[in-house]
């Protein structure tokens, strides 16, 4: 596609459930980022992939959060045993190169997660 695509755009789940959020980056972009954004706040870094590997996962808040990018393209953010505090917009972004050559990040429209 022409831009970064995220699905679902909205997800409502119950506390304790498992959720998956998907990100389809711009074709050819090697770097992929996940951010979490609470209402009225700046995006909070979660994890950054360079190709298939996680180059930096220091922002994942705890072991309930996990992300994969098995073929170096689509990425899935997985949240186990969701808590109400996980409610936020989860943003995905991709970049042509990433790392020391980080240029413009192209963002998706985000997935809004609501945990009841």
């Amino acid at each position: 596609g022409a831009g970064v695509s995220q699905t679902p755009s909205n997800k409502v789940t119950e506390k304790g459930k498992y959720v998956e959020l998907r990100c389809d980056p711009i074709s050819g972009h090697t770097a992929l980022y996940w951010y979490r954004q609470s209402l009225g706040q700046g995006p909070e870094f979660l994890i950054y992939f360079q190709g298939t590997g996680a180059a930096d996962d220091s922002g994942l808040p705890n072991d309930r959060f996990f992300a994969v990018r098995p073929e170096g393209s689509v990425s899935t953010l997985k949240i186990q045993r969701t808590e109400r505090g996980d409610s936020a917009v989860y943003l995905c972004a991709s970049s042509l190169l990433g790392g020391a050559n980080t240029g413009e990040l192209f963002f998706g429209e985000g997935s809004r997660l609501t945990v009841l």
Partner: protein
């Protein structure tokens, strides 16, 4: 650790006027990039302007320009001839050339009034 601070939660400006949004950052590194991103109500982040730390010349992109003061670790955004479509949340962001991790400030909500 790097941090980015935007001290103005909300700003407003009259259409056609000029407004400046402030941003300061903290880092011990010498090579990095600074960005301003715009986030309208649609949620999608859009790059406004970018500055490489090694460049002394301030970046300019049409009505948008920055005042980059490396010694003071300051990176303000000036919007000239403000338009109604400029209404959005604006984020200052920093990335180290060592890590590639983009860090955002808290954001400034800008309202352009007709």
């Amino acid at each position: 650790a790097q941090t980015v601070t935007q001290s103005q939660p909300e700003m407003s400006v009259q259409e056609a006027e000029t407004v400046t949004l402030s941003c300061t950052y903290d880092t011990s590194e010498n090579n990095y990039y600074l960005f301003w991103y715009k986030q309208p109500p649609s949620r999608q982040m859009i790059l406004v302007i970018r500055q490489e730390a090694y460049k002394q010349q301030n970046a300019t992109e049409n009505r948008f320009s920055v005042n980059f003061q490396k010694a003071a670790k300051s990176f303000s955004l000036k919007i000239s001839d403000s338009q109604l479509g400029d209404t959005a949340m604006y984020f200052c962001a920093f990335v180290s050339s060592n890590t590639g991790k983009l860090i955002f400030g808290q954001g400034t909500t800008l309202q352009v009034k007709p």
